[in-house]
Symmetry: C2
Subunit: 379 residues, 2 copies
Amino acid sequence: MIKKRLFTPGPTDVPPDVLNEMAKPMFHHRTPQFREVFRAATDGLKTIFHTEQEVITICGSGTAGMEAAIACATPRDKKVLVANGGKFGERWAKIARVYDLDVDEVELEWGTAITADDVKAKVDTGEYGAVIVVQSETSTATWTDVEAIAKVTRDTDVLLMVDAITGVGALPMDMDAWGVDVVASGSQKALMTPPGLAMVSLSDKAWASVDTIDAPCFYLDLKSYRTSLAKDDTPTTGPVNLITGLRVAVDMINAIGVETIWKRTALYAKALRTAAEAIGLTLMSKSPSDSVTALGCPEGVDVDGQFRKILKTTYGASIAGGQNEWKGKVVRVNHMGYTDPLDLVGLVAAMEFALSDCGAEVAIGKGVAAVAKVLKDWQ
Amino acid sequence: MIKKRLFTPGPTDVPPDVLNEMAKPMFHHRTPQFREVFRAATDGLKTIFHTEQEVITICGSGTAGMEAAIACATPRDKKVLVANGGKFGERWAKIARVYDLDVDEVELEWGTAITADDVKAKVDTGEYGAVIVVQSETSTATWTDVEAIAKVTRDTDVLLMVDAITGVGALPMDMDAWGVDVVASGSQKALMTPPGLAMVSLSDKAWASVDTIDAPCFYLDLKSYRTSLAKDDTPTTGPVNLITGLRVAVDMINAIGVETIWKRTALYAKALRTAAEAIGLTLMSKSPSDSVTALGCPEGVDVDGQFRKILKTTYGASIAGGQNEWKGKVVRVNHMGYTDPLDLVGLVAAMEFALSDCGAEVAIGKGVAAVAKVLKDWQ
């Protein structure tokens, strides 16, 4: 009778309405029926991305979207700056090297983000063709100020390419107004759809760069997606039921308004941080993301072997552990997408119980009271 | 009250049990729960592919799997022979050119297949590193004799790479025994799962080639899939519910036995061809595939504007039209995957009705009687 609750930062929980839509009988992708759904999903994504540009959807994991952008859009004759503050920043540097780009990888201390000033110092040298940053680095739950960095790049020839995979639909993103050149996202985070779709949107400046490059790939060639999307179509067989599911999820988001969801997600983050402090967990990031939170555990608690295991098996709540240097010390909790206040109150209760089961000193009820107080302002 | 019936050659109809499995609550991919499902699905695919090798599953359309094989496995220092007998053969030549391979594209008349003798003449020159053929060319419903071609390549250094996307699970494929080096497939054909997964299996000879090549891509790098699969894992976020669905579909196939399914599919093909002849439709391919059938329509029938439209709107049956030079002249009908005898009897009835509605002379009941007679031998 213990209910399973998914608090991992991707895949995140998926609304039953999305799953049920996907369970409807299969239909063909070269039909008006598919084109209508695909166009509706795409238009919904444009609203969420805050862009007038098309949002290209690729069947693949989030990595496929970022690779498409790196392979097809990154200027070849200049350096590319990659801010590596965790597992994903590290991955973009790796991908850029696969395409023989001249990569300047800025290694950041875990839990810190690159600043607009750091970027400006590099960009001002005139040596850079692109800057790649991660809006919300999932491995460290750390937020990068994309708006500030876009102010540095927007009136230059430099492309700003943003991994917003745990950003879009959770954290403020005003692609056109800020002047971001590439925004990449994925279905399985704040977009509340199962994993399997990557989204990429490009500015006119980024498309101009794409048009100068012979794509070094076929499946991830952004030009073929652009041509197909102009006819509400996909270049190869479209992932029909992931798209029907996405359309429902996107409609749910836009019915509320993504700006309202940004505020709610920020409130959830605040509530969880406040509660965490009340039960002896510490905020790991110096620039915390509002979509996912990384929390350090008290000395003596066996994080992966006991705390997370008890949470999952006894209380049904799945949260993620730490990676690399944070492995065994940290837990990561999702509060983007299909999350509501009662989820968080329940999760904090479970964390209190499980910490106590692990032998940590916890005043049961203190965290729950703290999270409830903050969430009272929920709208 | 008209029921929708999907007879397109991919996506094909998906069993309700597969869709319902996929509609279960989301769970995380880095868990024993996912690894168990992924391993079971993979082992089931190995049985279906008739191989002891691993079967790699990539989130993407079938094209992604073939591109992974071309990009990662094709020897760079020799020519690659591509048999182009339709839209897919043409695509593999395009992809090979993206990777700067020296492509010898053999253009075949539509509805014909490359023969083992054709391949032998080329391979004997010693100039070729790989041969790419399409086991079942969906655009022309044409079958290539992979077993015979494998006899030519298996004791040479030449890799035989097979697009078996509408082959695996429908047509005989004995990968290890025949000595095929690359077999690629996709979820949305005979494997009865929604579109979004590509599968690739490689022989030792093909893996040896992979190991000599620096992958020119990241997402489609077969080495990373091999490393992850050794731990029953995926290199990036796994498409959780496509995999849970695949596992159910694969279990359904193996419960019957893929060899039995090959025989049934061949019987369905025979039944449909016999019925088609009885109602004035002509078999287009000179080497017909058993997984999909292309049929020419009588003079004067408006194939796409009337015949297919009436079939779909009045009788609920979706079939595909012709492509390129066959556009407007041909229909293509799926009989692989989740198809049963009653489906085919019903479809033939609908084709009789719709042809008659289009003004063609049809003896109503003749096709139905013909299809029923052949299907009586069904097992």
